[in-house]
Each structure stands twice: as structure tokens, then as C-alpha cells.
């Protein structure tokens, strides 16, 4: 304790270390990832800086406990409440606790219901072709006002889930691998691995037998931006399963949903259990089956996310029917920016399955000049075609969607 002489912000001199420990515990309860190691560093740091000023004390703890920018607010609030009255915050957290526990209990019940359904004998193949029967009229109307309601995944019948899962099992996305700057040993490689050769020679002696190496290949990151507005609601359940399967199948997958606003759901889809994942997504998304504002939400994506997720040559799957509440305003500019920021932009549109379909709506016409590929996505067959398309390196940019552009 020899560095600390001044009275601590909490009053008692000897209790400061204890209070740091309690403070750390409080932060942990509030959701910051803080382990015992951090507490020790905090004590060490406070000793190094001393306790002359409250500001320095604040920034000392800040430097240790805060790891990300979005934790700053939480830390700030906790700090000001705790170091005025440590007991107060603890009591407040205690009062919040039952509320935190509640959803978990509910989820347990829900899973049981699903389990019960699963144990029952499945209905006689009635849901098998369900996705193929999706009606056009339902999909072509889109609501004028923002409908903020929560979608109920419970409505999904067991047969429907099975059909979707069957589709998704076939959807192992084999994205064409890209060469990286790293090398790996390969006897048929085109480059000489000098280091391996010398080391081998060191072991065996005699002639230097040349070892070979080749560039490591790695699948590119995948970004999925999916429309969940009213006109897409018949499909969004299926697509969520698809996104969940892809997210858990590979690394570097980022998923976003949009209707009237953009929601990042990558974190929720990382839960292995599809039910848990979908529950978390339902809680996070506020604009299920509402209107669509493609231009504005894409703009938000470009500003907030594009630098963070498109950095390493990502492939973007944009899933939307292109029906836009704002009549295509702002889409062109934002699509252009999105297209320039990624390696390949693929537009998946469920409406494309109708014969004689032409991209006539303003939203579609605004999107079309900026995509590399334009594909249908509405049933198992089109999902299969998508897989094939992603395996190929793909035609040169802009040529791919040219045929559609002439029609539109």
C-alpha cells in the first residue's frame, strides 16, 4: 500500500482495494468481461498512478476495465454510481436480477413444447411442398407504415422445419477459395521452400533435397444482408435457418436483417442451437414484417459496418425482393458504394422465379445496375443453384447481370 496515501474517493483509506474488487464484481455483473487477472491489474495500476485526483482514478480504472468502445457508457455510469455509494449500485443490480432470469425460464418451457411436438408422429407429408406454394399476392403487397411487432417462431410447424432443414443440409456453401499471402508445404507446389529444405538437410545431411510450398487458400468472408419486411415474411423464416446453418458452418460470416432499420444478428446466430439462436434474433429485431427502406438501411450498413466486415474481400449476398417503401430513393448511391466495397455482390430475389418476371419496380431498377449476379431464391432447387453459382469463381463483374438490366 505504500503508493497510496491520500484518502480514497470512497472515504476509508484501507478499503480502497476491497472497493476496487467490489467495483470489478459490479461491472462483471453488469456484463463486462472481467476476470480476477483484471482486478489485480487494476490494483497495480491504481498503485502506480496514486489517488490524488478523482479524474486520474477514473481513467486508470478505465484503461484496465474497458476493452471496447461500446463499454465506455456502461463503465461511466457504473463508476459514478459506485464511487458515490458502492452499496447503492449493488442493491440496484440485485433488484434487476429476477427480470434477467425470467426469459431463460420461459425459453425452457418453449423448448419443451417443441420437444413434445418432435416426439409426436409427424403429419403425413403435408408440409413438404409448402415453400413452393407461397402465394404471389401476399408477397406483392407491402405495408405503408412501420409495423413494429415481434414475429412468433412458435407458429412454425414441425414438418415445415424439417423441410427447411433438409434444404439447409444440402446448402454447404462451397465458396471458391481465394489465395492468401501465406504459404503451406506442398510437394507439388511451384515455389521452393528454402527454410524447409535447409532444415531437412540439417537433419539428413548430404544433398539438399528441395522442399516445395504453395499458397494457402481460404474461403472469403461472407456477408448476408436479408430483407425481413412484410413482402418477404413468407421466406424470412426459411432464410433464418439458412443463415444459421452458414454461420455455424464456417468462420467469417456476418449477417444482417433489415426492414425499416438495420439489425446485426451475427452474434445471435452463433448459438449452436437453432431455437436459442432464433429466440435471440426475435428479441433483437423490432421491425419484422413491416415496410422496407432499402436505401436508408443500406446507407446505415455502408456507414457503420462496411469497413468492419467487408475489409478482406467479402462476398455479399443481398436477399430482397426489391420492393421499396421509399420508391427507390437513395438506393442507387448506396448500392454503388456497397458494390465498390466488396469482391462480389449477389442479389437473391424470390420473385425471380415467376416466368416472364421483369424487374420493373423502382427499387429493383435501382439495385440492378450494381450487382454482379442476380439469382432466384424461393425453393430447394434454387438454393441448389445458388450453391453451384458460389462454387464457380463467377463471371466477370457487371457482365453477369447484363441480360437482366436490358429487360428492366
Amino acid at each position: 500500500m505504500e503508493g497510496v496515501q491520500a484518502p480514497s474517493p470512497s472515504g476509508g483509506d484501507g478499503r480502497i482495494l476491497e472497493n476496487i474488487m467490489y467495483f470489478a464484481r459490479t461491472l462483471r455483473a453488469a456484463g463486462l468481461p472481467i476476470g480476477p487477472g483484471k482486478v489485480l491489474s487494476a490494483v497495480e495500476a491504481v498503485r502506480a498512478v496514486g489517488l490524488e485526483s478523482r479524474d486520474d482514478f477514473y481513467w486508470t480504472l478505465h484503461a484496465v476495465f474497458v476493452n471496447r468502445r461500446d463499454q465506455q457508457d456502461l463503465f461511466d455510469q457504473a463508476f459514478h454510481i459506485f464511487w458515490r455509494n458502492p452499496k447503492l449500485l449493488e442493491r440496484m443490480l440485485g433488484m434487476m436480477l429476477p427480470e434477467v432470469v425470467l426469459p431463460d425460464q420461459q425459453k425452457g418451457e418453449e423448448m419443451n413444447r417443441r420437444l413434445a411436438e418432435a416426439l409426436k408422429k409427424p403429419g403425413d407429408g403435408q408440409g413438404k411442398d409448402q415453400e413452393d406454394e407461397v402465394e404471389l399476392d401476399a408477397a406483392m403487397t407491402f405495408s405503408e407504415r412501420e409495423v413494429l411487432r415481434t414475429m412468433d417462431f412458435e407458429k412454425m410447424s414441425g414438418a415445415e422445419i424439417n423441410a427447411a432443414k433438409a434444404a439447409i443440409r444440402r446448402m454447404v456453401l462451397p465458396l471458391a477459395d481465394l489465395p492468401t499471402r501465406r504459404f503451406e508445404p506442398n510437394p507439388r507446389g511451384h515455389r521452393t521452400d528454402m527454410r524447409a529444405s535447409f532444415r531437412a538437410q540439417l537433419r539428413s545431411g548430404g544433398m539438399i533435397a528441395l522442399k516445395r510450398k504453395t499458397r494457402q487458400r481460404r474461403p472469403p468472408p461472407l456477408v448476408i444482408i436479408c430483407d425481413i419486411s412484410g413482402s418477404m415474411s413468407r421466406y424470412s423464416r426459411l432464410f433464418l435457418h439458412f443463415m444459421h446453418a452458414v454461420t455455424n458452418d464456417r468462420d467469417r460470416v456476418f449477417t444482417f436483417l433489415f426492414g425499416t432499420r438495420l439489425t446485426a444478428i451475427t452474434r445471435f446466430l452463433r448459438y449452436k442451437d437453432i431455437d436459442v439462436a432464433l429466440d435471440k434474433v426475435t428479441d433483437a429485431v423490432e421491425d419484422w414484417s413491416g415496410g422496407t427502406r432499402i436505401g436508408e438501411t443500406l446507407g446505415e450498413f455502408n456507414r457503420k459496418w462496411s469497413r468492419r466486415v467487408l475489409g478482406q474481400g467479402a462476398i455479399v449476398l443481398l436477399i430482397t425482393d426489391g420492393l421499396d417503401r421509399d420508391a427507390g430513393i437513395g438506393i442507387g448511391v448506396e448500392m454503388d458504394r456497397l458494390h465498390k466495397s466488396c469482391r462480389r455482390l449477389i442479389w437473391l430475389n424470390p420473385l425471380l422465379r415467376y416466368e416472364g418476371f421483369a424487374p420493373k419496380s423502382l427499387g429493383m431498377r435501382a439495385i440492378l445496375p450494381h450487382v454482379d449476379e442476380f439469382k432466384p431464391i424461393h425453393n430447394l432447387e434454387s438454393l441448389g443453384e445458388l450453391v453451384a453459382a458460389l462454387t464457380r469463381p463467377g463471371p466477370r463483374r457487371l457482365e453477369a447481370a447484363a441480360a437482366w438490366r436490358e429487360m428492366g
Partner: protein, 303 residues
């Protein structure tokens, strides 16, 4: 030069290096210096993350070793590499001579044939004191390199299979920067002192201009800062101007002998401030005029 003895000393040190900073940043720097742990700086491009490392090396009189990160950065270009051509020649020479094979092998894996890259250089003893190691834009590398770095930064030692382990006698002063184009793993951040460098307040930015662009007229500096701050409030720009851009802009305007902002001067030099054609198109012309009128009115209201 020894490290500063208190937060205030650290603040003075940075000032001496012409780096205007908040006391909060000085606290984080002081902690990193005294407790010998890396400083992890995050923030938008052009807020002075890299500059901080340069200033530390200058004011402390330490060597600056910079590791610029990129995707696919590997051990051969970040840590060390053997000098194969020289090793080959050495072997040929030895073969024509009468040296035994064992001696040759021992000789070709010595310091003479080792090309030291930044991380290894940073662990070497230096007469001036432990060097400043700047690991710039860590977010650009991939996860495997991050994991390797984790090992180096926690023990400050590197193992070369052919020769052995090299351990730093005095650990270097490490500054890690990230533009946050991707989230760095918590395991690495946990070993560092974290600081988010935000855009400065108008007052602070004016301080920075006084130090970094002393040639600019006082009135011009105030207008420049107010204009840039106005731009940063906007939601529709793809890339907001950083402090570096403010400084560049003040320099550019001074070079053009501008004493007070005019719409024409702004239009001519907008490329210094904004780096995307879409952004420039949005501000160019009438919008610049409107913003400037606002700025002038506000400055007139609060002298």
C-alpha cells in the same frame, strides 16, 4: 531518457513532443510506461494513434520500430528470416574447403545469416533504452497472426527453432493501433491498456492547430476547426475528416495565402478534407456555402 514519474509528467512529455492530448490519454500512456504493458489505441483514421508512438519515441529518445500489419502477414516478414542465398554460398565455400559438415551446419544458423524483422529487433537490447514498438493497424492482419502476437506480447520472447529462445532484457514500449475494421480478440486486449481516441472537441482541436500549424492565422484556424466540427456532426458522409485532415487543410489554406474561409477557397481545397468523391460532391458548392455561413454566424456570436 527515463519514463515519466507521474501522469502530469507524461502530459508534459507529450506536450514537449508537440502532441496535444487529454489527461485521460496521458493516464493510459503513463500506466503502459510504468507497468510495462502494451497500450492499445483504437479510433477512427487520422486521430493521432500512430503519431503518439512517434512522439513517445522522439521525446524519450528511444528507437522507433514499426510493424505495419496487412492481411497474411507471416513470421518471415514480422519476426525473422534466414538469409538463404548467403547460406548457400557459405555451404559451397565450405564444400570446396576442408571443413567438416558439422561445423558448416553450426555456422550457417548463426546471427550472421539471420535477417531480423521488427518484432525480433524490438527484443534486442538498445543503448538508448528499450525501443518503442509500434504495431500499426493490427485489425488488418488475420487471427493466426494475432494469436502469435499474443504470445510475444505476454512474455516478450521469441523462439527460433534452429538457435534457441531470445528474451528481451527490458521489454519494449509497445503501442498497438487499430482502426476497428474488425474486432480484435479480447485475449489480446486483456493484456493491454485500452484507450479509444475520439475526435477532439473544438477547443482541443484549436490547441492542436496552434501547435501543428502555427503558420495559419488565428481567425482562419478558428473557422477551419468550426467548419470541420460541423462536417463531423453530419450523418451522410462516408468518411469523416480526422485531425490529420484538419491540420493538412490548415496547411493547404495557409500555402494558398487564405486569411479567412471563403466558399471558393473551400471548393478548391475540399479534396484535402474529404477523401471520397461522393462526399465531396455532397459538400461542394451550395452546401459548403451554407455551412460556412453558419460557421461565421456562430463565431460572430461567441467571440
Amino acid at each position: 531518457m527515463p519514463v515519466p514519474a507521474s501522469v502530469s509528467d507524461t502530459l508534459d512529455l507529450l506536450r514537449r513532443g508537440n502532441y496535444v492530448s487529454d489527461r485521460s490519454l496521458a493516464t493510459a500512456v503513463y500506466l503502459a510506461l510504468t507497468l510495462g504493458r502494451p497500450l492499445f489505441l483504437e479510433g477512427e483514421a487520422g486521430v493521432g494513434k500512430t503519431e503518439l508512438a512517434k512522439v513517445l519515441s522522439e521525446t524519450l529518445g528511444r528507437r522507433l520500430i514499426r510493424l505495419q500489419c496487412y492481411e497474411g502477414l507471416d513470421v518471415a516478414s514480422a519476426v525473422y528470416e534466414w538469409n538463404y542465398p548467403r547460406q548457400m554460398i557459405e555451404i559451397r565455400l565450405a564444400e570446396s574447403g576442408a571443413e567438416s559438415r558439422d561445423t558448416v551446419e553450426e555456422e550457417i544458423f548463426t546471427d550472421r545469416f539471420l535477417i531480423k524483422r521488427p518484432l525480433l529487433q524490438a527484443l534486442e537490447p538498445d543503448i538508448a533504452g528499450a525501443p518503442v514498438l509500434l504495431i500499426d493497424e493490427l485489425d488488418r492482419t488475420d487471427e493466426p497472426f494475432e494469436a502469435y502476437l499474443l504470445e510475444v506480447l505476454s512474455d516478450f520472447q521469441i523462439t527460433i527453432p534452429e538457435t534457441g529462445t531470445i528474451k528481451a532484457e527490458h521489454p519494449p514500449i509497445v503501442v498497438v493501433t487499430s482502426n476497428r475494421t474488425r474486432e480484435i480478440h479480447d485475449a489480446l486486449k486483456r493484456r493491454c491498456f485500452y484507450y479509444w481516441i475520439d475526435y477532439p472537441s473544438a477547443e482541443r482541436e484549436l490547441d492542436i492547430l496552434r501547435v501543428k500549424a502555427p503558420g495559419a492565422a488565428a481567425a482562419l484556424s478558428r473557422e477551419v476547426v468550426a467548419f470541420v466540427q460541423k462536417l463531423r456532426e453530419r450523418q451522410d458522409l462516408f468518411k469523416l475528416p480526422g485531425v490529420a485532415e484538419t491540420i493538412d487543410w490548415a496547411h493547404a489554406l495557409t500555402q494558398l495565402d487564405v486569411l479567412a474561409l471563403t466558399p471558393e477557397a473551400i471548393n478548391d481545397t475540399l479534396g484535402v478534407l474529404l477523401k471520397y468523391q461522393d462526399d465531396i460532391a455532397k459538400i461542394h458548392g451550395s452546401e459548403a456555402e451554407r455551412l460556412l455561413a453558419q460557421v461565421k454566424a456562430e463565431l460572430a456570436a461567441s467571440p
